[in-house]
């Protein structure tokens, strides 16, 4: 109990520090006092423009994208009772990217503002449904991962196809962006576009806490405790699709955040999903903010993709998990 509270406080503090660092780090060398003053007052000409229109949206999106990815990962893992479930690995992110690319290239995104996040949401929802269907109530880790690989490959191939066929010569160069994610040169427009869907998704996912707790005892026990499993599934599908869809629509698919954070933090809450959810959101926010800061420090002028850094941490972690599960599965 106290360990959980301590972790919540420390993680919140870490996220706040990283958010501040994200605001203060950038290619234009600005003084600390000058930049914070310009951010708050909106005065100071170009400095205010840089702080309010370039760095603030970037830091906000880092925070939001990380939080929804961590939260979705924890919720999916809780519902499937499978430590390998994660929006990136099971193809939800790449399907959301396909939805976003389709709406951009067909011109739907230009016809009304919400078309972009809604299409990404639709893509994500389809993938979540497919994964839940394929993995089934009793499906093991293998079924889940194989279904995820198939969905990711299909969505990735279709995304590449659509971008290759685009009349825009730059579109084909963006395949990497949609698969790896980046927060470079985002604006407040993107924040406002994604925020409502992210809040909705987080609300739905946080509401699953009690059901997920009961589910740790098994489906029959959960049912006998009065948990409506159909409703729980609906919450997971809509919540994940809305949160991940909005995140991918504005920042591309960033992998492994939802895998790593729930695992690192689960021991702190005694494996209780309802307590893990807020911690995983904070942890995810810290991970993406840190990765986005690293991207800017390592290659300031190169637009290194976020997913590169999260995969550098996440992929070895994933292998480690597989190694540990080897004995259990076989």
């Amino acid at each position: 109990m106290t360990l959980r509270i301590t972790a919540l406080v420390l993680l919140s503090l870490l996220v706040a520090l990283l958010f501040l660092a994200s605001l203060l780090i950038g290619p234009a060398a600005l003084g600390l006092k000058q930049s914070i003053g310009a951010l708050l007052s909106g005065e100071g000409g170009p400095v205010a423009l840089v702080m309010q229109e370039i760095r603030l949206p970037r830091a906000l999106l880092g925070l939001l994208v990380g939080a929804v990815l961590g939260l979705s990962g924890a919720a999916m893992q809780g519902f499937l009772r499978n430590p390998l479930a994660e929006p990136g690995l099971v193809g939800v992110s790449s399907s959301a990217a396909l939805g976003a690319v389709l709406s951009l290239q067909t011109g739907l995104a230009a016809s009304f503002a919400l078309a972009l996040p809604l299409s990404a949401l639709a893509g994500a929802a389809l993938a979540v449904l497919l994964v839940l269907f394929m993995a089934g109530p009793h499906g093991g880790a293998l079924a889940l991962i194989l279904a995820g690989i198939a969905i990711s490959a299909l969505a990735g191939a279709l995304t590449s196809l659509v971008l290759n066929l685009s009349p825009n010569p730059f579109a084909v160069m963006e395949i990497v962006y949609w698969m790896m994610g980046s927060l470079a040169d985002r604006s407040m427009t993107h924040v406002w576009l994604a925020l409502p869907f992210m809040i909705l998704g987080c609300g739905l996912l946080l509401a699953t806490g009690r059901g997920l707790d009961a589910l740790t005892l098994g489906e029959d026990a959960a049912r006998s405790m009065g948990v409506d499993l159909a409703r729980l599934r609906l919450l997971i599908v809509l919540g994940t699709a809305s949160a991940v869809g909005a995140s991918v629509a504005v920042a591309g698919a960033v992998g492994f955040v939802g895998l790593v954070m729930p695992h690192l933090l689960r021991p702190l809450v005694g494996g209780r999903p309802s307590h893990l959810l807020p911690l995983a959101a904070l942890g995810g926010a810290a991970m993406v903010l840190a990765a986005d800061i690293a991207v800017r420090l390592i290659a300031p002028d190169q637009d290194l993709k976020l997913g590169v850094l999260t995969a550098l941490v996440g992929a070895p972690f994933f292998l480690h998990l597989l190694w540990r599960m080897r004995g259990v599965e076989a």
Binding site: G26, E53, I54, L104, S166, P167, N168, A171, M173, P300
Partner: protein, 280 residues
């Protein structure tokens, strides 16, 4: 600074003389161009019927300054097979385009003249002379080059320089040592990209562009179909910057190649600079 030394390179003179001599002996009868810039120079300098085919880029209104003229020609896509079947006796190509195709065509015994990109204004007149000579009409190339040089000399700006930046998709800009940089300094601008320390083309982060507060921002026209690369041109920060700065509406197609159309781009920049003096 405006007096460009003509034919300062003795090797170039020798090469031109050689070309001219060869051309007099046997002007090519079937010429195929596979590069946007040679397309346009060849259309301007060739005899009717002498130019058999031009590249598909010549029809792209965003890159080509001569779309209407280009419609009269059969189009090629730069593949060696397609070009060989057109039975050319001269192929015009760029030095960077389709290297494998060029090697293959040379291997098949076809003469290929390769034109490097124009990195300096001096290159432009030289390219006009070179293509004129290759087509067997050195006098046309010479006349075009002289007209270009005369127009150029009339467009120079004297007085204090204003700041300007070229800004393209993905935050790409022109640094020092580029044709754009030279056009900016000729027309009375200091290039923000060059002052940021960039040589050649490179990425200028939006933050640094905003901090430099250029007086003129030159951007490109977006292509059809969406791309995230071009989204940066609609970024609120850039929009605010451009609201405060003077606008220069240039046609990208005029900037791309070293042809007489380049003068349109230079005139636009000269007008933009003159506009700054009127309303500081």
């Amino acid at each position: 600074m405006l007096a460009f030394p003509r034919n300062s390179d003795p090797l170039l003179i020798a090469a031109l003389a050689l070309w001219a001599g060869a051309a007099v002996a046997a002007p090519p009868e079937r010429v195929v161009s596979m590069n946007l810039c040679t397309d346009q120079l060849a259309m301007l300098l060739a005899d009717p019927g002498q130019l058999v085919s031009i590249s598909n880029l010549a029809l792209d209104p965003l890159s080509s300054a001569m779309v209407d003229e280009a419609r009269a020609y059969p189009i090629n896509r730069g593949g060696a097979e397609q070009i060989y079947l057109m039975d050319p006796d001269l192929v015009l190509a760029g030095t960077y385009t389709a290297r494998a195709s060029v090697d293959l065509l040379r291997g098949l015994g076809i003469e290929v003249v390769q034109l490097p990109p124009a990195d300096r204004l001096e290159d432009v007149a030289a390219h006009m002379r070179q293509i004129g000579a290759a087509l067997g009409h050195p006098e046309r190339g010479e006349a075009m080059a002289r007209a270009f040089e005369a127009d150029l000399a009339a467009l120079g700006h004297t007085g204090p320089a204003a700041t300007a930046a070229m800004y393209y998709p993905n935050g790409y800009t022109a640094g020092s040592g580029t044709l754009s940089d030279q056009i900016l300094s000729l027309t009375g601008f200091r290039n923000v990209g060059a002052e940021a320390g960039l040589t050649g083309g490179g990425i200028l982060p939006l933050e640094r562009l905003v901090m430099a507060e250029p007086q003129v921002v030159v951007t490109s026209t977006p292509y059809p179909g969406a791309s995230r690369s071009e989204e940066i041109l609609a970024h609120p920060a850039l929009r605010q910057l451009r609201d405060g700065a003077a606008q220069a509406h240039v046609r990208d197609a005029d900037w791309v190649c070293g042809t007489p159309h380049l003068l349109n781009a230079i005139r636009t920049m000269a007008d933009a600079r003159a506009g700054l003096d009127v309303a500081p």
